[in-house]
């Protein structure tokens, strides 16, 4: 998709992610006491894109994730999640003014994630995530892990347990459907053989895959992956790339990932956002970011003036792009939505 390069001199046509963002982070700031972990960060995640959030250690990437998925309440800023066709800027402003966490119109629903408790972000706004240090239900089997992920669907089908205790046919059908869906994802993560094994007993790479499968069982519109390739060997890494391409291609799920493995980032990302010390230093296609002097500076370390110059250039470019995006609230180009 959007793979054109952006040059600072001549802002090209707006990027796909600015035209049809599934997630918009605006002026996000997160402070812990005196420490500013994320400072006035804004970026878009395009619908159907694989977006990578990169940066040196301690740049604030996981904090951004935690803000998006509701585990932290941001100090300042707005995080907008859009379902269906892009909602107008106007609708978002009206929602912001009402103080409600979300609203629905014929264009689709909009959610202000910073106003929602974490579990609602998954349940209603349909943002699923994985964790940097894997968080599986270790004592439960692989299959059970995937069934827990379908809790809300099953809970409704069991009439909030009453129907389940009586084992009504409606619930039995829903349970079978849930198992079928689990089997589907087990097949695609090559875990079917191990469905009845406790999650803690899986090897590391399989645990990573299981966590992704579990997140996908919640049927997310946006999948947030925190270092999915960490600790994987090259073969597992390439399998991961395929899996992510499949998730995006077949299910139309947008993917936001934090990753240190530049091979993964450069190969599969449509869009890369670079953070350093909680600030955005670059934003664009993989190609663009790779050649951005401020990124190189941040990773390799250079003299201060050079960084400042580079940062200034990057900020100018970013704000130009953002302004462009905001001005042109064009129609969605992407038809793929829910699976």
């Amino acid at each position: 998709m959007a793979a054109e390069t952006l040059t600072a001199a001549e802002p090209a046509a707006p990027h796909g992610w600015d035209l049809d963002p599934v997630l918009t982070v605006e002026h996000l700031t997160m402070r812990f006491g005196g420490l500013v972990a994320v400072d006035d960060l804004s970026f878009n995640v395009g619908r159907g894109d694989i977006t990578a959030l990169i940066g040196p250690n301690g740049a604030g990437k996981t904090t951004v994730f935690n803000c998006v998925t509701g585990f932290y309440k941001p100090t300042e800023g707005r995080i907008i999640m859009r379902h269906g066709k892009s909602a107008s800027e106007d609708a978002i402003r009206r929602l912001t003014e009402t103080g409600e966490p979300w609203s629905e119109s014929e264009d689709g629903a909009i959610f202000l994630l910073e106003r929602m408790p974490d579990f609602r972000i998954c349940k209603d706004a349909r943002v699923a995530r994985t964790f940097q240090n894997i968080r599986l239900f270790g004592g439960m089997t692989v299959l059970e892990n995937l069934l827990v992920a379908q809790h809300n669907v099953l809970m409704a089908a069991s009439n909030f347990t009453i129907g389940g205790i009586l084992n009504l046919p409606g619930f039995r059908a829903a349970r079978q459907a849930a198992i079928d869906k689990a089997v589907y994802w087990l097949e695609h993560t090559r875990l079917l053989e191990r469905a009845d094994v406790p999650a803690a007993g899986l090897p590391y790479g399989a645990q990573r895959r299981l966590e992704i499968a579990r997140a996908m069982c919640t049927e997310p519109h946006l999948l947030c992956l925190d270092e999915p390739a960490a600790g994987l060997n090259p073969r597992e890494t390439s399998e991961l790339n395929e899996l992510l391409e499949y998730i995006r291609g077949e299910h139309g799920t947008s993917v936001l990932l934090i990753e240190h493995d530049m091979g993964v980032v450069m190969e599969i990302s449509d869009h890369v956002v670079v953070l350093d010390y909680g600030e955005k230093i670059s934003d664009g296609s993989a190609e663009h970011v790779r050649n951005d002097p401020s990124v190189i500076a941040a990773y390799l370390g250079v003299e201060d003036e050079e960084v400042e110059a580079a940062e200034a250039a990057a900020r100018a470019a970013a704000s130009a792009a953002a302004a462009k995006g905001r001005a042109e609230n064009g129609p969605a180009e992407n038809g793929k939505d829910t699976p």
């Binding site: 812990f32 996981t62 935690n66 964790f131």
Partner: protein
């Protein structure tokens, strides 16, 4: 006003005793993250040892009260420490690195065993000890016309408060300045890493229990002298209250334990003084619940940032 001041003095005294016991809870919790349920009973054991030593002193004809008190204090601290050490060795060390609930159950088992051991060997009836230290300083003179009462700070209360302050200071310094204190703090942070760096974790934990037991013994001596009545069951309620104090103050924090102890002591005394004696425990526990709801890590505990 006089009544209020008197209650304040009484509350601080009671709070000091709770605080001394609470330190044992808070240190053990800090270092191995478990609720040492038997700690209240260690306090009870300390009080019993003190009683027996006291009677032995009288029997062999030692009459100088300060000398008796000193010996009672030292012997009680020593022998109660052995109890604290033994409980850790028998019931907790084999479960080190095991699952969270296992040491909790052994602690409850130990608590039951200690209570019944003392009941078996010393009888179930209460042991009254006539007041040994009488008199005090009159702070406010009573006046019959206005209905005011005499406010007295008894010598016993002075001893309790002073001992507590001295011990608190000594222990804070111990934790802050010495090798042992550093080892303790290291084990609190990360026992595995501490052991890799040459800290003898088992010994450090044992010493923590010994220190906790010694302080509980001091509390036991004070309790014996102040109230003059002990039985095998005093450990349970005092233990629960002291643990409440430790949690209220922010578990893991030594000044927190002391502050929590004072808070519980004051709440109890004032509630008894102004409302009803029967519901003093309800008051203390309700304050605990309310505090925890609004201040989930206690008064002085470090707020916990959720690691995601």
């Amino acid at each position: 006003m006089e009544y209020f001041v008197q209650q304040l003095i009484n509350g601080v005294t009671l709070g000091s005793i709770y605080g001394l016991i609470a330190i044992g809870y808070t240190m053990v919790y800090g270092i191995i993250g478990m609720i040492n349920f038997a700690h209240g009973d260690i306090f009870m054991v300390g009080a019993f040892i003190a009683l027996t030593v006291f009677l032995i002193m009288l029997a062999i004809g030692v009459t100088a009260l300060p000398l008796i008190l000193l010996i009672v204090l030292i012997v009680a601290m020593l022998f109660t420490s052995v109890w604290g050490w033994a409980v850790e060795r028998i019931a907790y060390r084999p479960l080190r690195g095991s699952f969270r609930l296992a040491p909790l159950i052994t602690a409850i088992g130990m608590s039951i065993a200690l209570q019944n051991f003392v009941q078996l060997t010393q009888g179930a009836r209460v042991k009254p000890l006539p007041p040994q230290i009488q008199g005090g300083v009159t702070l406010m003179q009573g006046d019959a016309e206005t209905g005011a009462i005499v406010v007295q700070l008894s010598y016993m209360q002075i001893i309790i408060i002073v001992t507590t302050v001295v011990l608190m200071t000594a222990f804070s310094l111990l934790i802050a300045k010495t090798e042992l204190g550093r080892a303790q703090r290291a084990c609190e942070q990360d026992p595995k890493m501490a052991s890799l760096l040459g800290v003898n974790v088992d010994r450090t934990i044992s010493l923590t229990f010994v220190m906790g037991a010694a302080l509980a013994a001091v509390a036991g001596v004070m309790f014996l002298l102040y109230y003059g009545v002990i039985d095998f069951y005093i450990g349970f309620l005092a233990g629960v209250k002291a643990f409440t104090a430790a949690v209220l103050g922010g578990i893991g924090s030594l000044p927190g334990a002391m502050l929590g102890g004072l808070a519980i002591g004051l709440i109890e005394t004032f509630w008894s003084g102004y409302f009803s004696v029967e519901y003093k425990d309800v008051a203390a526990f309700s304050i605990l619940a309310i505090t925890l709801i609004f201040l989930p890590s206690g008064l002085l505990g470090k707020p916990e940032v959720e690691k995601v």
